[in-house]
C-alpha cells in the first residue's frame, strides 16, 4: 500500500480530532462493556471453580442423601469396597461471623484421617500444617491464610461463628498455607473442622451430607455398579463433575442476559465507527475521486480506508481494555451479589484478568470496527474517479437506499419472528430473534423520515416559518447522516423502554405475588447469611411457644429442603398449618379444589412455574422424588406463580413429607394474629414468649416484603448500569452524527450566515432539527420498545428463568422513553449547533 495514501488518510483523521475521538470512545465503551461483563462473569465462575475444586478435591464421585443426609457408618462400608481408592465424609453448611458482617462462611466438616487422597490441599506438605490437629480439641477449626490475614486470626485464637439460631466459639488450631493459587482462592471463606464438630454445629447428628469417593482400579464401571448396589434407598451416587456443571448451568441464563447487553453496547460502538468512517469517506469524496483519477486502484483505496479503521479500532480497543478492567472491578461485585442472592454462595476476591477474555474483547473490537467500516469502504471504492461528486447525489442515493433498507428491515423482522417462534427452551435464539426484530425495525427509521418529509416540513413552516421549514427539510435532506443517527437513537430508547417495561412488569408481578403469598402477619425464621438456600431449623420449643401464644389465630409451618430427584436436586417446601389454603398460591394452571385437597394433606404436589418449565411438568404429570423408600411419583395438581427461585420449588403437604422422609423440623413459620391486634404489638407479644437466647428472627409481613423487593431491586441494578452504558454509547453516536452533519453543512450554513442569518437563528434552526429527530425517534421507539418488552417478558425471561408475568406498560414508562429521546437528541445537538452558529461565513464559503 502507498505510504502516502495512508499518510493522507491518517492526516484526515487528525484534522477531525473530535470525530476520531468520538469513534475511539464509541469502540472503547463497547469493548469495555463486553470485557467488564466477561471479567465479572469469568471471575465469579473462577471463584466457583476454585471453591468446587477445594471442597470437592480429587473426588470422582459422591454419595448424597438429600435432606435426610447419608448415614455416617456407610463410610466404613464404602472404604472396604474394592476399587474405592479413598472415601471421605463431608458435612457442609454455612455460617456467619460477627467480625465479617454480611459474609457467608462455608463450614466444611472433614475426617482428617481419610482426607489426604481426596483433598490434596489438606495434606501436610501442601497445607503447611497437619489436619490431625483438628482432632486434638473440641470445636477446633483451621482457616485459610487469606481469611486469617483479613480478620487478624492466628493459631490459638478464637472465632465466634453464628450458625442457625446458635453462636459457637471455635478455636483456631492452625492457618492453612496452601501452595497453589486455586486452593488459596477456594479457601478464602472456608472454615475447616472435624466432621463431629461440624455435625454438632449444624445439627446433623449421625449423618453426613455426602461421602466423597475416589474411584479407580481396573474396572471403575464395575466399582460404581457395586457401590450402587450397596446404597440404601434414598441415597444416590453421582459423578463429582456433575455438581460443578449443575452450578454453572444455574447461572448460564443470568450470564447470557448480561452478555446480550454487552453485545448491544458494542453494536452502538459499531454504529459510531460506521458513522465516523462513512463521514470520513463522504468528506473526502473529491479527494478520493482525484486519487482514483491519478491512478490509485480500488484495492489501494480500500486498503487505506481499512488500515485507518484498524488503527482507530486498535486505539479504541486498547482504551476499551483498560476501561473494561476498571469497570469489571465494579461489576464483579454486583454480579457476585446477585449470584449470591439468587443461586449460591460464591466469594470473589478480585477480578481475574483472564487473557482469553482480553483477547476476545480485543478481537471483538477490531472485527466490529472492520465490519462497521465496510459500508464506508465500499462507498469509497465505488466512487467514480471524478473530481466532483455532488452531495445531492449522495443524498439521492441515501433516499433510494432508504427503501431498500426498509425491505431488508422487513426481512430481518420476519426472520426475527421466525427465530422467536421456533419451539425451544434455549435462551440464545431468543436473543438472536430479539436482535433481528430490533435491527429490522430500526432499519425502517430512514424510510419513515422520507415518508414524513412533507408533513414535517408543513409543521415546520407552520410553527417556525421559513427557518422552521428549512430545519425540517434538513432532517430529510441530510438523510445519509440523520437516518443512521435516528435509527441508533430509536434502538437506544427502545432498549431503555423495553427494559423498563420488563422490569416494571416484573416488579408489579413480584409485588402481586408477595401480596398473595405473604398472607401471615409475622414470619419467624433462623437468621441466614445465604438468601438462596433454605437453612437451619427453628428450635421445636420456639415453634411450640409461638404457636401456643395468645392472640395467635393461625400458624403456617414450612420445611424447606433440597430433595434428590432422578434428574438433580429439587427444592421442596413442605407446608402445613392450621389453615392452609390454595389462596396463598397464585395458580396459573390446575384446579383450585384439587390444590386445596393437596394442601389439606391429600396426595400430590404443587409446582412453581420455573420448575414446571424446566422439567416440563403440568397438571396430570408426575414429579418423581427420591424418598428413603426409593423413587416415588407425586402427581402434579397445579402450577403456581413463584418468584422466589428460578430453579423452582415443589410444594408438598407437611404431613406427607414427614411420613415419607421422617423429618419434622421447621425452617420457617408464618403467624396470623387476632383481628385488631397491631403487628408491632404482636411482635413484642411474641418476642416475650421466646425462650432465652432463641436466636430467631421475627419479621413483620411488611419487613419481609421490603427485604424481598430489596433483593429484586439489587438484582436489576446491574441491568440499570448496563442500560445506562448502552444509552451513553448511543448518545455519543448521535453526537457524532450531528457533528458530521455540522461539518457537512458548513458551506450551506456559511451561505445562510452571509445572507443575514444571525448565529442565534442558526442555533435555533439546528436545535429545531435535532428536536424533530428526537421527537420522531421517541415516537418510533415506543412500538419497538413495547415489542422488545413483550419479547423479553414472554420469551427471554420465560426461557431464562421460567417466570411468567403480566405485562404492564405505564404511561410514565412511555413518557420517559419519549422524553429521553428528545432530551438525548437535543443534548447531543447542543455542541454541534453551537459550533454551526459560530461558523464565520468567510471560512465556510472557502472552496478549498
Amino acid at each position: 500500500m502507498s505510504k502516502l495514501l495512508l499518510r493522507a488518510g491518517l492526516r484526515h483523521l487528525k484534522r477531525q480530532p473530535a470525530q476520531a475521538a468520538l469513534a475511539v470512545l464509541g469502540i472503547a465503551l463497547g469493548v469495555a462493556v463486553i470485557l467488564a461483563i466477561d471479567l465479572a462473569v469469568e471471575s465469579s465462575r473462577e471463584a466457583l471453580r476454585a471453591s468446587v475444586a477445594v471442597v470437592g478435591g480429587e473426588a470422582t464421585h459422591r454419595v448424597e442423601g438429600g435432606a435426610g443426609g447419608v448415614p455416617s457408618d456407610l463410610v466404613a462400608v464404602l472404604r472396604s469396597t474394592s476399587g474405592v481408592i479413598a472415601s471421605a465424609p463431608v458435612v457442609e453448611g454455612f455460617g456467619g461471623a460477627s467480625i465479617l458482617p454480611g459474609r457467608a462462611l462455608r463450614i466444611l466438616g472433614i475426617d482428617p484421617l481419610s482426607e489426604g487422597a481426596v483433598r490434596p490441599w489438606s495434606g501436610e506438605r501442601q497445607a503447611g500444617l497437619s489436619m490431625v490437629r483438628l482432632l486434638s480439641e473440641e470445636r477446633a477449626v483451621v482457616v485459610g491464610s487469606d481469611l486469617a490475614h483479613e480478620v487478624g486470626l492466628e493459631s490459638g485464637g478464637s472465632l465466634l461463628v453464628r450458625v442457625g439460631s446458635g453462636v459457637e466459639e471455635l478455636h483456631v488450631q492452625g492457618v492453612l498455607q496452601p501452595a497453589g493459587g486455586l486452593a488459596r482462592a477456594g479457601l478464602r471463606d472456608l472454615l475447616v473442622m472435624d466432621v463431629s464438630t461440624a455435625q454438632k454445629l449444624l445439627g446433623r447428628f449421625g449423618v453426613v451430607d455426602r461421602i466423597d469417593l475416589v474411584v479407580g482400579g481396573e474396572d471403575p464401571e464395575a466399582t460404581i455398579a457395586r457401590i450402587r448396589q450397596l446404597l440404601p434407598d434414598g441415597l444416590r451416587l453421582d459423578d463429582a463433575g456433575a455438581r460443578e456443571g449443575e452450578m454453572e448451568a444455574m447461572i448460564r441464563s443470568f450470564d447470557l442476559n448480561l452478555t446480550a447487553l454487552g453485545l448491544l453496547a458494542l453494536l452502538f460502538g459499531a454504529f459510531l465507527i460506521y458513522n465516523t468512517m462513512t463521514f470520513s469517506v463522504v468528506q473526502r469524496r473529491r479527494t478520493l475521486g482525484t486519487l482514483r483519477a491519478v491512478g490509485a486502484t480500488r484495492g489501494e483505496v480500500l486498503r487505506t480506508i481499512l488500515t485507518e479503521a484498524v488503527l482507530l479500532g486498535a486505539v479504541g480497543t486498547a482504551l476499551g481494555l483498560m476501561l473494561g478492567a476498571i469497570l469489571g472491578r465494579g461489576l464483579v461485585r454486583l454480579v457476585t451479589r446477585t449470584i449470591q442472592d439468587l443461586y449460591f454462595v460464591v466469594s470473589v476476591e478480585g477480578v481475574v484478568l483472564a487473557p482469553s477474555a482480553l483477547a476476545k474483547a480485543a478481537v471483538f473490537g477490531i472485527v466490529v470496527t472492520l465490519l462497521a467500516t465496510l459500508p464506508a469502504a465500499w462507498e469509497a471504492i465505488s466512487s467514480p474517479p471524478r473530481a466532483a461528486l455532488g452531495r445531492s447525489f449522495l443524498e439521492e442515493k441515501a433516499r433510494g437506499s432508504a427503501g431498500r433498507l426498509a425491505r431488508v428491515g422487513g426481512l430481518l423482522f420476519v426472520a426475527g419472528l421466525v427465530v422467536l417462534l421456533v419451539p425451544t427452551q434455549e435462551v440464545a435464539p431468543a436473543f438472536v430473534g430479539l436482535f433481528l426484530l430490533v435491527l429490522g425495525m430500526a432499519a425502517f427509521a430512514p424510510s419513515v423520515l422520507v415518508l414524513l418529509a412533507r408533513p414535517i416540513t408543513w409543521a415546520g413552516r407552520r410553527t417556525g416559518g421559513l427557518l422552521g421549514a428549512m430545519a425540517a427539510r434538513g432532517v430529510v435532506a441530510s438523510l445519509s447522516r440523520t437516518g443512521p443517527a435516528m435509527a441508533s437513537l430509536v434502538v437506544a430508547v427502545a432498549v431503555t423502554l423495553g427494559l423498563a417495561m420488563m422490569v416494571s412488569s416484573f416488579r408489579g408481578s413480584v409485588e402481586r405475588w408477595l401480596h398473595v403469598t405473604l398472607s401471615s402477619d409475622i414470619y419467624v425464621s433462623v437468621p441466614s447469611t445465604v438468601a438462596a438456600r433454605p437453612q437451619g431449623e427453628l428450635p421445636p420449643e420456639v415453634v411450640r411457644a409461638l404457636a401456643d401464644a395468645p392472640r395467635v389465630t393461625a400458624v403456617h409451618l414450612t420445611r424447606s429442603v433440597e430433595l434428590l430427584a432422578p434428574s438433580g436436586e429439587v427444592r421442596v417446601l413442605a407446608v402445613g398449618g392450621s389453615s392452609d389454603r390454595s389462596s396463598r398460591y397464585d395458580l396459573v394452571s390446575g384446579r383450585r379444589e384439587a390444590a386445596d385437597r393437596v394442601l389439606a394433606g391429600g396426595e400430590g404436589v404443587l409446582v412453581s412455574e420455573p420448575l414446571a418449565f424446566r422439567r416440563d411438568l403440568a397438571p396430570g404429570g408426575d414429579l418423581v422424588l427420591l424418598t428413603p423408600e426409593g423413587e416415588r411419583a407425586f402427581p402434579v395438581v397445579g402450577v403456581f406463580r413463584d418468584y422466589g427461585s428460578d430453579r423452582g420449588v415443589a410444594v408438598l403437604p407437611r404431613s406427607e413429607y414427614m411420613r415419607q422422609w421422617g423429618d419434622s423440623a421447621v425452617t420457617s413459620m408464618g403467624i396470623e394474629l387476632e383481628a385488631g391486634l397491631g403487628v408491632e404489638e404482636g411482635l413484642s407479644l411474641l418476642r416475650g414468649r421466646l425462650p432465652d437466647g432463641a436466636g430467631v428472627t421475627l419479621r413483620s409481613n411488611l419487613e419481609l416484603r421490603r427485604a424481598t423487593l430489596a433483593v429484586f431491586d439489587r438484582t436489576f441494578r446491574i441491568t440499570s448500569v448496563l442500560q445506562a452504558l448502552v444509552f451513553l454509547v448511543a448518545f455519543v453516536g448521535v453526537l457524532s452524527a450531528m457533528m458530521a452533519l455540522q461539518l457537512d453543512r458548513a458551506r450551506e450554513i456559511g451561505v445562510l450566515r452571509a445572507t443575514g442569518l444571525t448565529p442565534r437563528e442558526v442555533w435555533r434552526m439546528v436545535t429545531v432539527q435535532t428536536g424533530i429527530m428526537g421527537v420522531l425517534a421517541g415516537v418510533l421507539a415506543v412500538p419497538v420498545g413495547v415489542m422488545m418488552g413483550l419479547v423479553m417478558i414472554y420469551v427471554v425471561n420465560r426461557r431464562s428463568f421460567g417466570w411468567g408475568m403480566e405485562p404492564a406498560l405505564g404511561g410514565d414508562v412511555v413518557a420517559s422513553g419519549v422524553f429521553l429521546a428528545i432530551a438525548g437528541a437535543l443534548l447531543a445537538g447542543l455542541y454541534p449547533s453551537w459550533k454551526m452558529s459560530r461558523t464565520p461565513p468567510s471560512e465556510a464559503l472557502r472552496d478549498e
Partner: protein, 204 residues
Amino acid sequence: MLDEVDLEVRSGEFVALVGPSGSGKSTLLNLVSGIDLPDGGRVEVGGTDLTALSERDRTLFRRRHLGFVFQFFNLVPTLTVEENLLLPLELKGRSGARERERVRDLLAVVGLGGRGDTFPDRLSGGEQQRVALARGLVHEPLLLLADEPTGNLDRETGVRVLDLLTNLLEMEGRTLLVATHADDVAARAHRVLRLEEGRLRSAT
C-alpha cells in the same frame, strides 16, 4: 453525449478542445483517460486500446501514462505540496532519492521551490494550480489531460499558469489535450477542435 468522434493526437502535440458547456468536452477527456468507456469504438493511447482493458488495468494505465490537471486543482489536502507530487511517482513504484530530487526540481521550475512542506490550503489559487501542473507532469506521462486549467483563476494568474504549462510541455516534450472555454488557452494550441452537440469539428 458524443457522436462519431474521430480524433488523433500526435506525440508532442498541444490540442485544445473548445465548445459550449454541455457539448461533451469533459466526457471526451474521461474517455481518453479510461475513466469512462464509450458505447462503441476504440480509444487508443500510445498503442494501447483502453476499451479492451479491465477497470483495474485502465487505472494502472492511467497511473503510468496519463497526467491530470483540473479546474478546481484537486490537490490532496492532507498531503504537503511535495507529497502531492510524490504521490503519482509512488503509485508507479518509484519513491527514491532521485524522485525526490525531480520533485524539488519541478517545484523550483513552477516557482514553488521553498513551499514543499506547505499544505495546499496555505497556497493561493494560482499556486495550487501550479502544483497541480507539476503533479500532472512529474511522472513523465505520455499524455497530459487538462480540464479548464485556468477556469478558476483570475486573468493575470491564468496567463502565468498558461506560460508555465507551455514551457513545461516544451521542456518535457509532452502531449497535451486541454478542454477550455478560454480563447487565450486555445490561441496557444497547435490545433483547436470544436465540439458542438457531441460532434467534433476542426476549428483551426
